[in-house]
Subunit: 203 residues, 2 copies
Protein backbone atom coordinates (compact mmCIF):
# COMPACT_ATOMS: atom_id res chain seq x y z
CA UNK A 1 0.00 0.00 0.00
CA UNK A 2 2.88 2.38 0.80
CA UNK A 3 4.38 1.74 -2.62
CA UNK A 4 1.05 2.13 -4.43
CA UNK A 5 0.36 5.45 -2.69
CA UNK A 6 3.83 6.80 -3.49
CA UNK A 7 3.59 5.78 -7.17
CA UNK A 8 0.12 7.33 -7.44
CA UNK A 9 1.32 10.60 -5.89
CA UNK A 10 4.27 10.70 -8.29
CA UNK A 11 2.00 9.96 -11.25
CA UNK A 12 3.91 6.82 -12.25
CA UNK A 13 2.05 4.06 -14.08
CA UNK A 14 2.62 0.58 -12.75
CA UNK A 15 1.30 -2.95 -12.92
CA UNK A 16 0.45 -4.62 -9.60
CA UNK A 17 0.91 -8.37 -9.39
CA UNK A 18 -0.72 -9.66 -6.17
CA UNK A 19 0.89 -12.62 -4.47
CA UNK A 20 -0.61 -15.61 -2.69
CA UNK A 21 1.58 -15.58 0.42
CA UNK A 22 0.70 -19.17 1.26
CA UNK A 23 1.95 -20.29 -2.16
CA UNK A 24 4.57 -17.81 -3.29
CA UNK A 25 5.27 -17.44 -6.98
CA UNK A 26 8.68 -18.01 -8.56
CA UNK A 27 8.99 -14.34 -9.55
CA UNK A 28 8.73 -13.25 -5.90
CA UNK A 29 11.26 -15.86 -4.76
CA UNK A 30 13.66 -14.75 -7.49
CA UNK A 31 13.19 -11.02 -6.93
CA UNK A 32 13.37 -11.07 -3.12
CA UNK A 33 15.44 -14.15 -2.24
CA UNK A 34 16.45 -12.75 1.17
CA UNK A 35 13.01 -12.16 2.73
CA UNK A 36 10.66 -13.71 0.13
CA UNK A 37 8.14 -10.98 1.01
CA UNK A 38 6.09 -8.33 -0.74
CA UNK A 39 6.38 -5.55 -1.65
CA UNK A 40 9.03 -5.76 -4.33
CA UNK A 41 9.27 -2.93 -6.86
CA UNK A 42 10.72 -4.09 -10.18
CA UNK A 43 11.96 -1.09 -12.15
CA UNK A 44 14.11 -1.33 -15.29
CA UNK A 45 14.24 -5.08 -14.59
CA UNK A 46 15.86 -4.63 -11.19
CA UNK A 47 14.17 -5.48 -7.88
CA UNK A 48 13.97 -3.33 -4.74
CA UNK A 49 12.59 -4.77 -1.49
CA UNK A 50 11.47 -3.40 1.91
CA UNK A 51 8.77 -0.76 1.69
CA UNK A 52 10.67 2.18 3.24
CA UNK A 53 13.68 1.47 1.01
CA UNK A 54 11.32 1.44 -1.98
CA UNK A 55 9.78 4.78 -0.92
CA UNK A 56 13.24 6.40 -0.79
CA UNK A 57 14.06 4.95 -4.22
CA UNK A 58 10.81 6.25 -5.72
CA UNK A 59 11.46 9.67 -4.18
CA UNK A 60 15.02 9.80 -5.54
CA UNK A 61 14.36 8.40 -9.00
CA UNK A 62 11.30 10.57 -9.65
CA UNK A 63 12.63 13.48 -7.64
CA UNK A 64 10.84 16.31 -9.44
CA UNK A 65 7.20 15.35 -9.03
CA UNK A 66 5.61 15.45 -5.57
CA UNK A 67 8.62 15.11 -3.23
CA UNK A 68 7.87 12.77 -0.34
CA UNK A 69 10.79 13.70 1.92
CA UNK A 70 11.47 17.34 2.86
CA UNK A 71 14.54 19.11 1.43
CA UNK A 72 16.22 20.16 4.67
CA UNK A 73 18.60 17.43 6.00
CA UNK A 74 17.38 17.81 9.59
CA UNK A 75 13.72 17.52 8.60
CA UNK A 76 14.60 14.54 6.42
CA UNK A 77 16.26 12.86 9.40
CA UNK A 78 13.15 13.42 11.51
CA UNK A 79 10.90 11.95 8.80
CA UNK A 80 13.14 8.87 8.61
CA UNK A 81 13.17 8.57 12.41
CA UNK A 82 9.35 8.54 12.56
CA UNK A 83 8.89 6.13 9.65
CA UNK A 84 11.28 3.76 11.41
CA UNK A 85 9.34 4.27 14.67
CA UNK A 86 6.14 3.31 12.84
CA UNK A 87 7.71 0.03 11.71
CA UNK A 88 9.23 -0.78 15.10
CA UNK A 89 6.59 0.52 17.50
CA UNK A 90 3.27 0.50 15.62
CA UNK A 91 3.31 -2.37 13.11
CA UNK A 92 5.45 -4.66 15.29
CA UNK A 93 3.38 -4.05 18.45
CA UNK A 94 0.04 -4.41 16.66
CA UNK A 95 1.17 -7.71 15.15
CA UNK A 96 1.32 -9.14 18.66
CA UNK A 97 -2.01 -7.63 19.75
CA UNK A 98 -4.37 -9.91 17.85
CA UNK A 99 -2.41 -13.08 18.60
CA UNK A 100 -2.87 -12.95 22.38
CA UNK A 101 -5.66 -12.55 24.94
CA UNK A 102 -6.45 -11.34 28.45
CA UNK A 103 -3.86 -9.50 30.52
CA UNK A 104 -1.15 -9.94 27.92
CA UNK A 105 -3.40 -8.29 25.35
CA UNK A 106 -4.28 -5.44 27.74
CA UNK A 107 -0.58 -4.70 28.16
CA UNK A 108 0.00 -4.61 24.42
CA UNK A 109 -3.06 -2.38 23.84
CA UNK A 110 -1.70 0.06 26.43
CA UNK A 111 1.70 0.16 24.73
CA UNK A 112 0.09 0.50 21.32
CA UNK A 113 -2.03 3.48 22.42
CA UNK A 114 0.98 5.13 24.07
CA UNK A 115 2.93 4.81 20.83
CA UNK A 116 0.06 6.27 18.79
CA UNK A 117 -0.07 9.20 21.25
CA UNK A 118 3.66 9.80 20.71
CA UNK A 119 2.91 10.00 16.97
CA UNK A 120 -0.05 12.35 17.53
CA UNK A 121 2.34 14.97 18.91
CA UNK A 122 4.11 15.04 15.54
CA UNK A 123 1.02 15.94 13.51
CA UNK A 124 1.42 19.64 12.86
CA UNK A 125 -1.51 22.05 13.31
CA UNK A 126 -4.25 19.70 12.14
CA UNK A 127 -2.40 18.88 8.92
CA UNK A 128 0.12 16.15 8.19
CA UNK A 129 3.31 14.77 9.74
CA UNK A 130 5.96 17.46 9.75
CA UNK A 131 3.99 20.08 7.83
CA UNK A 132 1.19 21.21 5.56
CA UNK A 133 1.80 18.67 2.82
CA UNK A 134 1.23 14.94 2.65
CA UNK A 135 4.61 13.19 2.68
CA UNK A 136 6.88 10.29 3.65
CA UNK A 137 5.67 9.70 7.23
CA UNK A 138 2.02 9.97 6.18
CA UNK A 139 2.63 7.37 3.45
CA UNK A 140 4.38 5.15 6.01
CA UNK A 141 1.51 5.23 8.52
CA UNK A 142 -1.75 5.57 6.59
CA UNK A 143 -1.92 1.95 5.30
CA UNK A 144 -1.87 0.80 8.89
CA UNK A 145 -5.19 2.53 9.61
CA UNK A 146 -6.98 -0.11 7.54
CA UNK A 147 -6.14 -2.47 10.44
CA UNK A 148 -7.80 -0.22 13.06
CA UNK A 149 -11.24 -1.87 12.83
CA UNK A 150 -9.68 -5.34 13.16
CA UNK A 151 -7.55 -4.37 16.15
CA UNK A 152 -10.45 -2.62 17.89
CA UNK A 153 -12.70 -5.64 17.37
CA UNK A 154 -10.17 -8.22 18.53
CA UNK A 155 -9.01 -6.06 21.45
CA UNK A 156 -12.41 -4.54 22.38
CA UNK A 157 -11.14 -0.96 22.60
CA UNK A 158 -11.60 2.30 20.70
CA UNK A 159 -8.72 4.03 18.97
CA UNK A 160 -10.79 7.16 18.36
CA UNK A 161 -11.58 7.52 22.08
CA UNK A 162 -7.85 7.45 22.85
CA UNK A 163 -6.31 9.08 19.79
CA UNK A 164 -8.78 11.46 18.10
CA UNK A 165 -5.95 13.38 16.39
CA UNK A 166 -4.82 10.25 14.52
CA UNK A 167 -8.39 9.51 13.42
CA UNK A 168 -8.87 13.08 12.14
CA UNK A 169 -5.49 12.90 10.35
CA UNK A 170 -6.48 9.59 8.72
CA UNK A 171 -9.70 11.18 7.42
CA UNK A 172 -7.68 14.01 5.84
CA UNK A 173 -5.35 11.49 4.20
CA UNK A 174 -8.27 9.50 2.83
CA UNK A 175 -9.46 12.59 0.93
CA UNK A 176 -6.51 11.97 -1.38
CA UNK A 177 -7.15 9.71 -4.36
CA UNK A 178 -3.76 8.01 -3.88
CA UNK A 179 -4.88 6.83 -0.44
CA UNK A 180 -8.55 6.06 -1.01
CA UNK A 181 -7.72 4.01 -4.12
CA UNK A 182 -4.95 2.02 -2.39
CA UNK A 183 -6.40 1.12 1.01
CA UNK A 184 -8.47 -2.05 1.34
CA UNK A 185 -11.92 -2.16 2.91
CA UNK A 186 -11.53 -2.61 6.74
CA UNK A 187 -14.09 -5.46 6.59
CA UNK A 188 -11.89 -7.35 4.16
CA UNK A 189 -8.89 -6.88 6.45
CA UNK A 190 -10.95 -8.19 9.37
CA UNK A 191 -12.07 -11.28 7.45
CA UNK A 192 -8.49 -11.89 6.32
CA UNK A 193 -7.30 -11.66 9.94
CA UNK A 194 -10.11 -14.00 11.11
CA UNK A 195 -9.12 -16.60 8.50
CA UNK A 196 -5.46 -16.17 9.39
CA UNK A 197 -6.14 -16.65 13.11
CA UNK A 198 -8.07 -19.83 12.35
CA UNK A 199 -5.29 -21.10 10.07
CA UNK A 200 -2.79 -20.50 12.88
CA UNK A 201 -5.07 -22.25 15.37
CA UNK A 202 -5.32 -19.10 17.50
CA UNK A 203 -9.06 -19.13 17.89
CA UNK B 1 30.81 3.54 16.59
CA UNK B 2 28.96 3.97 13.27
CA UNK B 3 28.58 7.68 13.96
CA UNK B 4 32.22 8.12 15.04
CA UNK B 5 33.49 6.36 11.89
CA UNK B 6 31.27 8.48 9.62
CA UNK B 7 32.32 11.76 11.28
CA UNK B 8 35.99 10.75 11.07
CA UNK B 9 35.68 9.90 7.38
CA UNK B 10 33.98 13.24 6.71
CA UNK B 11 36.67 15.08 8.68
CA UNK B 12 34.15 16.60 11.11
CA UNK B 13 35.33 17.49 14.62
CA UNK B 14 33.07 16.34 17.42
CA UNK B 15 32.93 15.85 21.16
CA UNK B 16 31.92 12.41 22.39
CA UNK B 17 30.03 12.22 25.67
CA UNK B 18 29.86 8.60 26.84
CA UNK B 19 26.77 7.50 28.75
CA UNK B 20 26.33 5.18 31.70
CA UNK B 21 23.42 3.13 30.38
CA UNK B 22 22.52 1.87 33.85
CA UNK B 23 22.17 5.47 35.06
CA UNK B 24 21.23 7.61 32.09
CA UNK B 25 22.03 11.31 32.17
CA UNK B 26 19.41 14.03 31.84
CA UNK B 27 20.86 15.21 28.50
CA UNK B 28 20.27 11.78 26.94
CA UNK B 29 16.71 11.58 28.30
CA UNK B 30 15.98 15.06 26.96
CA UNK B 31 17.61 14.50 23.55
CA UNK B 32 16.15 11.04 22.87
CA UNK B 33 12.90 10.89 24.87
CA UNK B 34 11.42 8.18 22.63
CA UNK B 35 14.07 5.45 22.96
CA UNK B 36 16.40 6.91 25.64
CA UNK B 37 19.30 5.25 23.81
CA UNK B 38 22.65 6.19 22.37
CA UNK B 39 23.78 7.25 19.85
CA UNK B 40 22.31 10.74 19.63
CA UNK B 41 24.03 13.26 17.37
CA UNK B 42 23.47 16.84 18.55
CA UNK B 43 24.19 19.25 15.71
CA UNK B 44 23.30 22.96 15.76
CA UNK B 45 21.54 22.24 19.05
CA UNK B 46 19.16 19.70 17.51
CA UNK B 47 19.19 15.96 18.26
CA UNK B 48 19.12 13.07 15.78
CA UNK B 49 18.65 9.49 17.01
CA UNK B 50 18.99 5.98 15.53
CA UNK B 51 22.39 5.27 14.02
CA UNK B 52 21.35 4.66 10.40
CA UNK B 53 19.24 7.84 10.43
CA UNK B 54 22.27 9.70 11.78
CA UNK B 55 24.50 8.28 9.02
CA UNK B 56 22.09 9.53 6.35
CA UNK B 57 22.00 12.95 8.02
CA UNK B 58 25.80 13.17 8.16
CA UNK B 59 26.01 12.12 4.51
CA UNK B 60 23.43 14.72 3.43
CA UNK B 61 24.65 17.62 5.57
CA UNK B 62 28.33 17.14 4.70
CA UNK B 63 27.61 15.90 1.20
CA UNK B 64 30.81 17.00 -0.51
CA UNK B 65 33.45 15.21 1.53
CA UNK B 66 33.70 11.41 1.38
CA UNK B 67 30.20 10.36 0.25
CA UNK B 68 28.98 7.31 2.17
CA UNK B 69 26.06 6.37 -0.08
CA UNK B 70 26.54 5.91 -3.84
CA UNK B 71 25.04 8.47 -6.26
CA UNK B 72 22.88 6.14 -8.35
CA UNK B 73 19.35 5.71 -6.87
CA UNK B 74 19.34 1.94 -7.43
CA UNK B 75 22.72 1.47 -5.77
CA UNK B 76 21.56 3.70 -2.91
CA UNK B 77 18.49 1.50 -2.45
CA UNK B 78 20.68 -1.60 -2.29
CA UNK B 79 22.98 -0.01 0.30
CA UNK B 80 19.93 0.89 2.44
CA UNK B 81 18.53 -2.62 2.03
CA UNK B 82 21.75 -4.21 3.32
CA UNK B 83 22.22 -1.78 6.21
CA UNK B 84 18.67 -2.60 7.29
CA UNK B 85 19.43 -6.34 6.88
CA UNK B 86 22.46 -5.89 9.18
CA UNK B 87 20.23 -4.38 11.88
CA UNK B 88 17.47 -6.97 11.52
CA UNK B 89 19.44 -10.14 10.79
CA UNK B 90 22.92 -9.65 12.25
CA UNK B 91 22.64 -7.43 15.34
CA UNK B 92 19.20 -8.72 16.34
CA UNK B 93 20.13 -12.40 15.93
CA UNK B 94 23.50 -12.02 17.70
CA UNK B 95 21.76 -10.33 20.65
CA UNK B 96 19.92 -13.58 21.30
CA UNK B 97 23.00 -15.79 20.83
CA UNK B 98 24.81 -15.03 24.07
CA UNK B 99 21.67 -15.11 26.22
CA UNK B 100 20.83 -18.76 25.57
CA UNK B 101 22.54 -22.17 25.69
CA UNK B 102 22.49 -25.67 24.22
CA UNK B 103 20.24 -26.52 21.28
CA UNK B 104 18.63 -23.10 21.24
CA UNK B 105 22.06 -21.51 20.91
CA UNK B 106 23.08 -23.95 18.16
CA UNK B 107 20.03 -22.92 16.16
CA UNK B 108 20.84 -19.23 16.54
CA UNK B 109 24.51 -19.76 15.61
CA UNK B 110 23.39 -21.55 12.43
CA UNK B 111 21.06 -18.69 11.50
CA UNK B 112 23.74 -16.11 12.32
CA UNK B 113 26.32 -17.83 10.08
CA UNK B 114 23.79 -18.15 7.26
CA UNK B 115 23.08 -14.43 7.47
CA UNK B 116 26.79 -13.56 7.44
CA UNK B 117 27.18 -15.77 4.35
CA UNK B 118 24.38 -13.86 2.62
CA UNK B 119 26.36 -10.67 3.34
CA UNK B 120 29.61 -12.21 2.08
CA UNK B 121 28.08 -12.50 -1.39
CA UNK B 122 27.72 -8.70 -1.46
CA UNK B 123 31.41 -7.95 -0.91
CA UNK B 124 32.68 -7.06 -4.34
CA UNK B 125 35.97 -8.46 -5.67
CA UNK B 126 37.81 -8.54 -2.36
CA UNK B 127 37.03 -4.89 -1.65
CA UNK B 128 34.06 -3.37 0.16
CA UNK B 129 30.26 -3.66 0.08
CA UNK B 130 29.00 -2.56 -3.29
CA UNK B 131 32.32 -1.41 -4.72
CA UNK B 132 35.94 -0.34 -4.43
CA UNK B 133 35.37 2.33 -1.79
CA UNK B 134 34.51 2.13 1.88
CA UNK B 135 30.92 3.31 2.35
CA UNK B 136 27.54 3.17 4.09
CA UNK B 137 27.16 -0.64 4.41
CA UNK B 138 30.76 -1.03 5.58
CA UNK B 139 30.16 1.62 8.26
CA UNK B 140 26.96 -0.16 9.28
CA UNK B 141 28.61 -3.57 9.72
CA UNK B 142 32.19 -3.00 10.85
CA UNK B 143 31.41 -2.02 14.49
CA UNK B 144 29.72 -5.36 14.89
CA UNK B 145 33.00 -7.22 14.29
CA UNK B 146 34.25 -6.08 17.71
CA UNK B 147 31.64 -8.53 19.08
CA UNK B 148 33.05 -11.49 17.10
CA UNK B 149 35.46 -12.65 19.83
CA UNK B 150 32.69 -12.49 22.46
CA UNK B 151 30.20 -14.41 20.32
CA UNK B 152 32.79 -17.06 19.36
CA UNK B 153 33.75 -17.55 23.00
CA UNK B 154 30.20 -17.77 24.34
CA UNK B 155 29.04 -19.95 21.41
CA UNK B 156 32.23 -22.01 20.99
CA UNK B 157 32.43 -21.61 17.23
CA UNK B 158 34.70 -19.91 14.70
CA UNK B 159 33.44 -17.14 12.44
CA UNK B 160 36.63 -17.24 10.35
CA UNK B 161 36.20 -20.97 9.63
CA UNK B 162 32.70 -20.28 8.30
CA UNK B 163 33.02 -16.79 6.82
CA UNK B 164 36.61 -16.06 5.75
CA UNK B 165 35.48 -13.35 3.31
CA UNK B 166 33.95 -11.33 6.16
CA UNK B 167 37.12 -11.68 8.24
CA UNK B 168 39.33 -10.53 5.33
CA UNK B 169 36.94 -7.61 4.67
CA UNK B 170 37.09 -6.60 8.35
CA UNK B 171 40.91 -6.56 8.19
CA UNK B 172 40.78 -4.23 5.18
CA UNK B 173 38.35 -1.93 7.00
CA UNK B 174 40.59 -1.85 10.08
CA UNK B 175 43.43 -0.44 7.96
CA UNK B 176 41.42 2.81 7.94
CA UNK B 177 42.12 5.22 10.79
CA UNK B 178 38.40 6.02 11.13
CA UNK B 179 37.74 2.36 11.97
CA UNK B 180 40.82 1.47 14.03
CA UNK B 181 40.38 4.57 16.19
CA UNK B 182 36.64 3.95 16.80
CA UNK B 183 36.41 0.22 17.51
CA UNK B 184 36.87 -0.99 21.08
CA UNK B 185 39.28 -3.75 22.06
CA UNK B 186 37.47 -7.16 21.69
CA UNK B 187 38.66 -8.11 25.20
CA UNK B 188 36.86 -5.08 26.65
CA UNK B 189 33.69 -6.06 24.79
CA UNK B 190 33.98 -9.59 26.19
CA UNK B 191 34.42 -8.35 29.76
CA UNK B 192 31.49 -5.98 29.32
CA UNK B 193 29.33 -8.86 28.06
CA UNK B 194 30.47 -11.08 30.96
CA UNK B 195 29.51 -8.41 33.50
CA UNK B 196 26.23 -7.84 31.73
CA UNK B 197 25.36 -11.55 31.74
CA UNK B 198 26.08 -11.68 35.47
CA UNK B 199 23.97 -8.57 36.10
CA UNK B 200 21.10 -10.21 34.21
CA UNK B 201 21.57 -13.44 36.17
CA UNK B 202 22.23 -15.39 32.97
CA UNK B 203 25.32 -17.21 34.19
Amino acid sequence: MRVKIALEEKGIEYVCQPQNLLNKGSLLLEMNPVYKLVPVLIHNGKPISESLVILEYIDEFWAKSFPLLPIDPYQRSQARFWADFIDKKIYAVAKQLWRVKGEEQEKIIKEFIENLKILEREITDDKFFGGDTFGYVDVALIPFTSWFYTLETFGNFSIEANCPIIIAWAKRCKERHSVSSSLPDPDKVYNFALDFKKALGLD
